[in-house]
Amino acid sequence: MSTVVTVDVAVVGAGPAGLAAAVAATETGARVAVVDAGNQPGGQFWRHAPETGNPGTADVQPHGHHGWSTYLDLRARFDAARSAGRITYLPGLQVWMAQHSGDAFVLRTTAAVASSGATPATVAADRLVLCPGGYDRQLPIPGWDLPGVMAAGGIQAFIKANGVLPGKRFVIAGTGPFLLPVAAGIAEAGGKVLAVLESSSPSAWLPHLRAAAGVPGKALEGMAYAAVFARHRIPYRTRNIVTEILGTDRAEGVRTARVDAAGRVRPGTARTYADVDVVGFGWGFTPQLELPVSLGVETRLDADGSLVGIVDERQQSSVPGLYLAGEVTGVGGATLAVLEGLAAGAAAARPESDVPVKQPAAIARHRRFAQAMHHAHPVPAAWQDWLSPDTTVCRCEEVTAGEITEARDQLGARDIRSLKSFTRAGMGWCQGRVCGFASACLSAGPGQMPDAGSLASSAKRPLAAPVGIGELAAQDG
């Protein structure tokens, strides 16, 4: 058996939400352990170059880090609590299973990278705060399995962590305000962004302006990106999509088209961008729900069609003692993730107290903004029409759209579970993280979005990360 770390509060994730939760929990008096797959705190949003060999952290700030001062503040408090022995920080470890036995939560971990030297530990805690964040939501597009096609967030993470670009000439496509910082980050790092293609249109925001206006910081951010776009002459084309990625062994160009409000391609609007080496796609984010789901947390569909965990005003889930913060309660950005993390950490440290949540109004405002954003940037209803039968949907098991619709229509695979068993879509290495949303849409039928039940069954991943059989063999209870 690996070493057992026993604490009052365990936190999974050291992104904005997890870092805030850990700090709030220790400052409220709890002994805390933080498990994170990354090698250093920051998560996705505050991802930065490796600190090893760097004396401080302030000098590693790369391009485009909004809220970096918040990071530095949380990080200083986190480091202080670590030095005081109040936080046990377990980086480089992935939780492969979370269990709730008796009144303790148990986390079992494995090294995220075999050669990293991170030693797996088992964490036992009275309360658990899950802040595992999410990843870019993807839709299959003809040619999206060619090398050179990447997740938009992945391109940004690449630049932030490595200080280099994954290519030279980029097209960024999908939907949502997040495409802007991705494109701006590429341009600032010296890459050429040929176009940003947004499937929605700015007018989609009109009904939601009141909610959006409640969060002035976001508007400022938007203006900063507008300046970058102007400086680098990045065309921002709304109601446009990539219909196909061209190339044989790698992405070489894209074909695009204009779409109507439902995402239907307008005939005669095709256009080709040649000489493209990286295509980035982002259709919002998918919260990482396997740990909450495995612990029995009640879930719901959020406005963006994602499955999220239900929490009360103290961020507690339907499972007593289990708190959720950040993207897993609804995609809403780093500022909201920090606010939720602070609330969750404080509540988990002192569950009996009725000290009111800090900044409930700010949390509510950010959630309203997020809802407005989701309504203005939906996954286009007609996206399934963009597929051709030979488009790969499940990248791991190489299952095509044609095979999936055949299983649906001939074998009655009208939910993701049967679809998986009949076609193997979602059965490979990534366990349906990449294709899960798309497969759930396809099993529901043309023009349909998946319901909560279908997404919950696709989020059922009894192993939250691959784990060695040898490590399993060491489990005896």
Binding site: L411, A413, M427, I469, L472, D476
Partner: protein, 397 residues
């Protein structure tokens, strides 16, 4: 709904699907109802082994071999649909004592016509190059084969509908027409979607079969026996047969409630290796047991040491439907005329489905089944005293 079917099948797992398929092929009008989609019960949470090697001598071995014939002949044209693979099984003994029992079992099996061949240490290594150096010897069963069970159920339902059957998903049966506490004739079923009259009703509901039988006022004791299976990362072919430890034979028929696991390790067409499967009687407990996973992993690495560096990417569990005497219930229930059962196939329902379906269809059509079904008669549970499990030397899956 006024016009009834000849046969109404409850449950679209492998057993219900096979029954519907063969009944439709007999020319009967068939309706299949499931509370979910095809293969939403145990048939989607198992492995697809069709094993001769582990069967108890007697009615189950007979049914297994009959079923094997049905897979090979009646269903020959559809083999590709469910990835039928005649890969053969190998039992491995790693202790002198288990080698000795294996030899004893083989001798008896041979006398019953089972195709089994002894493998000495070097023949074993030729057959499975990555087997543990500790393995002392084994037995090769060429008749053992494998299918993808979810595809079996789904395609048999589809083929049944092509032969004229009707399938209705999301249609849970909530009671029977005609039956009462005084045991009237069962004339159909009730569902939230309406009543479905039928000449014969077949209960193919696996672990739910006892519940359904109770609705008709009869006892069919089908209980759940939990099993975990570990799935590895996709690998190049490292394991050629279904390989299991001699100790497995002792476990399958055991009535011990505690956790047991003997490894059954096999490659799949998709590259993943399946490590199955534990056996424990814990009711319908769905919580993950790290103890069960640990035991499976230890046993599997003892058989194939290279597995210790291989990654598990998934595990799943299912509930085997079993009867106290480890024999399935197949046939007409004389206690509730009009009601038939095909359930309780425990760890062998996939393999036995083809034969079960064909035999039952013959009986439903009023023909004499190719094989005597009386050992599986549902009424064996009614008479007190007959209830006690028969002593079984080796066992039944």
């Amino acid at each position: 709904m006024t016009h009834g079917s000849d046969v109404l099948v409850i449950g679209a797992g492998v057993i219900g699907a096979a029954t519907a398929y063969f009944a439709a092929r007999q020319g009967l009008s068939v309706t299949v109802l499931d509370k979910g989609l095809p293969a939403s019960g145990t048939s989607s949470a198992c492995e697809g082994n069709i094993l001769v090697s582990d069967k108890e001598l007697g009615p189950e071995l007979e049914l297994t071999r009959y079923s094997l014939g049905v897979w090979h002949h009646d269903l020959e044209e559809h083999k590709k649909l469910w990835e039928f693979d005649s890969k053969g099984g190998i039992i491995v003994a790693s202790r002198e004592s288990s080698l000795a029992s294996l030899h004893r079992v083989m001798a008896v099996q041979k006398s019953y016509g089972v195709d089994v061949e002894e493998l000495d240490q070097s023949a074993l290594r030729d057959a499975e190059p990555h087997i543990s150096p500790e393995a002392l010897g084994g037995a090769s069963y060429r008749e053992d084969c494998q299918v993808q069970p979810m595809l079996v159920a789904a395609h048999l339902v589809r083929l049944a509908t092509e032969a004229g059957a009707r399938f209705i998903a999301d249609c849970p049966v909530s009671g029977f027409l005609g039956s009462g506490p005084d045991g009237g004739r069962v004339t159909g079923v009730r569902t939230p979607r309406g009543d479905f009259p039928a000449g014969a009703v077949v209960n193919c509901t696996g672990t739910w079969a006892g519940e359904l039988a109770a609705m008709a006022g009869v006892e069919v004791p089908v209980l759940p026996r939990r099993g975990f299976v570990i799935v590895t990362e996709p690998l190049p072919a490292m394991i050629r047969h279904k390989v299991y430890a001699a100790e497995y034979i002792d476990n399958v028929g055991s009535s011990d409630a505690g956790l047991q696991a003997s490894p059954v390790v096999e490659g799949t067409p998709a590259g993943s290796i399946l490590i199955g499967s534990s056996r424990e009687r814990v009711g319908f407990d769905r919580t993950v047991s790290t103890a069960a996973l640990g035991l499976l992993a230890r046993n599997a690495t003892a058989l194939f040491p290279f597995l210790k560096d291989v990654k598990a990417i998934r595990h799943y569990h299912g509930f085997r439907p079993y009867c106290p005497d480890h024999l399935p219930v197949i046939g007409h229930d004389d206690r509730a005329p009009g009601l038939w059962h095909a359930a309780g196939h425990e760890g062998a329902g996939i393999g036995l489905s083809a034969g079960t379906g064909k035999l039952l269809a013959q009986a439903l059509a009023g023909l004499t089944p190719d094989m005597d079904l009386s050992p599986f008669a549902p009424a064996r549970f009614s008479a007190p005293g007959k209830h006690t499990p028969v002593h079984r030397e080796e066992a039944t899956a």
